[in-house]
């Protein structure tokens, strides 16, 4: 049948359908009130835990001051916060994209390790290239290797249906061994060392520090721009691009996507690859911007924290950015807390988890604090 669609004038009835529901109090509560509330309650509970373990009140006060000081209280604090956020956000973006495509990728840790290692190896192999070439190409090497490593899980799932949770857990465990092995190879191992540690990144390969003209100890580096660009790009991919539409469609309903002619196998591999590229970039940014070399376990759990981050950010790029800044701030502030008040930095992990609980379970917040929040209609609605 032939219906010309082209540019068609909409009648009133049609135009009426283009109304979007406006954001109301509900969104305000979801996006602002609940998170602020979550942070405050988590901090209070953190204080209670300190009390319970015999920390006295003045020290608790001191530790919260230190937490604030260490995360946003000075240029150095801000710099540390951003430095910590960069790899978290990059890896988190990859995971979030994967979640949207229906892939529960636990493998960011391994992708990050191998991507970072590739960036280091590339940079000292092509030492002598000018900065404008070496640095971007090293980053690219990290992204490519991360993508390839993640694609293993993607290809296995696409061709044999192997569950990506298992294969990415296994790939993580394998990556530690690959890294240990590589770091002992004469080509990669630092001269004169018997422990597994790589050669250093040449200066032209490094992500330059942004604020070292103020103080050489300020570690925030050009990876910051990479992170912001990645947020924008991932947002565009997910919500504006064709491939992103296919990602989301097969994530939401793989069957319908298949019926619509979207090739699920390709999508799985592409989504895994993109996620791996971002994790690889996170690793590359970490070695080129902060660590200067690869050593065993240099990922330091970033790949796992990024899972929490992506979930907290509801797999939305902007959410992930905000969550990443929050986590980065807590990490930097936690360090200060341990120095100033002698409270173990492990408290930060407790606070982080409590924040996630309260943000991810608004029903819980409403159950504990019924006043002030709208009567939740959503609670009664739901499926069907």
């Amino acid at each position: 049948m032939t219906t010309s669609i082209g540019k068609r004038e909409l009648d009133d009835a049609g135009r009426a359908l283009l109304k979007r529901s406006t954001r109301g109090r509900e969104d305000f509560e979801d996006l602002v009130v609940v998170p602020v509330f979550a942070v405050i309650v988590a901090l209070i509970l953190g204080a209670l835990i300190m009390l319970a373990t015999g920390v006295d009140l003045p020290t608790i006060g001191k530790s919260f001051v230190a937490l604030g000081k260490g995360s946003v209280g000075s240029i150095n604090a801000l710099s540390e916060t951003l430095t910590a956020a960069i790899p978290l956000v990059l890896a988190g973006l990859g995971l979030g994209l994967g979640f949207r495509a229906g892939l529960f990728n636990i493998g960011a840790e391994g992708q990050l390790l191998l991507g970072g290692t590739a960036a280091v190896v590339f940079s000292f192999t092509f030492d002598g290239l000018p900065f404008l070439l070496l640095m971007p190409l090293s980053l690219l090497a990290g992204a490519v290797v991360g993508a390839l490593y993640a694609s293993i899980a993607g290809v296995l799932k696409a061709t044999t249906g192997a569950h990506e949770v298992i294969s990415t857990i296994m790939l993580n465990l394998i990556s530690y061994q690959i890294l240990n092995y590589l770091l002992r190879q004469p080509y990669i191992q630092k001269e004169g060392r018997s422990d597994p540690i790589s050669k250093s990144v040449p200066d032209a390969g490094e992500l330059p520090r942004l604020l070292d003209w103020i103080d050489p100890n300020l570690r925030v580096h050009a990876g910051l721009f990479l992170m912001l660009a990645a947020v924008a790009v991932v947002w565009w991919i997910l919500f504006r691009s064709k491939i992103g539409f296919a990602f989301r469609a097969s994530g939401e309903n793989p069957d319908a996507a298949r019926y619509a002619g979207i090739k699920s196998g390709l999508i799985i591999v592409a989504a895994m690859g993109t996620a791996g590229a971002l994790a690889g970039l996170a690793g590359a940014a970490q070695v080129l911007g902060v660590l200067d070399r690869a050593s065993p376990g240099f990922s330091a759990g970033i790949g796992f924290n990024a899972i929490a981050l992506a979930l907290l950010g509801r797999s939305h790029p902007v959410g992930i950015l905000i969550a990443g800044l929050l986590f980065g701030g807590l990490e930097a502030g936690g360090r200060q807390m341990q120095v100033d008040a002698g409270v173990s930095i492990d408290l930060i992990a407790i606070i982080q988890s409590l924040i996630i609980v309260f943000i991810a379970a608004p029903l819980l917040v409403r159950a504990i604090f019924p006043w002030g929040f709208r009567k939740s209609d959503k609670a009664a609605g739901g499926s069907q």
Binding site: M1, I5, L17, S21, N253, A257
Partner: protein, 507 residues
Amino acid sequence: MDVELRGITKRFGPVVANDAVNLKIKGGEVLGLLGENGAGKSTLMNVLCGLYHQDEGEILIDGKPVTFAGPGDSIAAGIGMVHQHFMLVPVFTVAENVVLGVEPTGRFDHLDLNTARKQVREINDRYGLEVDPDALIEDLPVGIQQRVEILKVLFRSADVLILDEPTAVLTPQEVEDFFEIVKSLRDAGKAIVFITHKLHEILEISDRISVLRGGRITGQGDPHELTEAQLAEMMVGRPVSFTVDKTPAQPGRPMLEIKDLLMMRDNDEIAVDHVSMTVNSGEVVGIAGVQGNGQTALVEAITGLKHASAGSIVFDGDDITRASVRDRHRRGMAHIPEDRHKSGMIGNFSIAENMVLNSYYDEEYSNGAAVNWPHVAETAAAFCVDFDVRTPSVFLDAGNLSGGNQQKMVVARELERETKLVIAAQPTRGLDVGSIEYIHKRLIQSRDEGDGVLIVSSELDEIMGLSDRILVMFKGRIVAEFDNTGGKADRNAIGLAMAGATKGAAA
């Protein structure tokens, strides 16, 4: 046992699904409950069976008010419901499904499956259900699954049986058998509520009829005094035409030619057994057959979802046996899938997004690598207007639409473009008469514009009403072909062929 519903009101957020409904159900009687999609029939019955709790009103059994905290209570009170969507655990056996919740047990909570099997067989024999208690549900055709649902209710010795659209997926023969079962239950003194969209069924089986519209009871009546047209008008609020108005077909060039097609199932059984057939432009070909005889596999082969093991498929002169789903779609093949919830749409996507689910990559809707969302939204709005999809906004999640509107959305997506061949599988399953009328009209319109149309349906009426030519599938083969110009095909012969009668009998 008599049940009375008084002033039942049930809201879902802002939606009032039932609005002060009064209803009486009596033992030894079949009450037919009618209503458009979304009228609130299922909701009302879910309240009665304890799954939902009413916001207002009360339920009386034999005059005494009762409250149900959950389905357990209503089962204990003797009420059993066969739900519109099957409530069977696919990986359990028939016996396990039937006894679930009232299991016979031995010591240490041990599940006594032998007793369960025996009890299932007893009921089987008493009502002539003929179901193998050890078969896995997922291996059974839907007709048999329907019987398992009834077994479940009978097993709990329910006195009130609620049957929510039980015949939607049955073939004519199965419906006849099913009515025998219902009648014997009624004669045994049970009260039965029967919900359906098929007016002739309700006239045939009910003793009393109630009609719901917009959550309220809008009519009551005696099936012996009412006609289908009157019922339809009570349901929809306007006169409805039942016959599909169409001119004789003008078949043109062959649009789809299938030669010697062989399809295998995952378990290595043959699903489609060397089928050859042709669909010409400008004609509607209907495939009749009991579910499980290979129609699904045939459609999957034509649309490219599964690859053929042997044989060829030619579409408008080009061999597409190996072409991808997208390629076929791009060449002008439209596919209205059998199960819209599962494979036709994405509930969490907006209507606009669903409208371009299989064409978002088209130049029409994209700028380079990006999707042109404003244009998509406008087009979707235009489609909604064209196909009477009722929604406040195209940015709403499609999952919020009623079943009929969802199907209209899918049909709009498939037909609102340049098409040459339309494959429609069960295009009106579960829809009310108003929606069915509309979709049928659109399919005929496609034919009149020169498309080839292939309709697969287990609804013999639908096949008879729409098709110019009818093929009957049985055990993976095309066993008979009928010319249906002017509706002249022999309904009985088709039914017999569907049941696998020999050629001699069918002729």
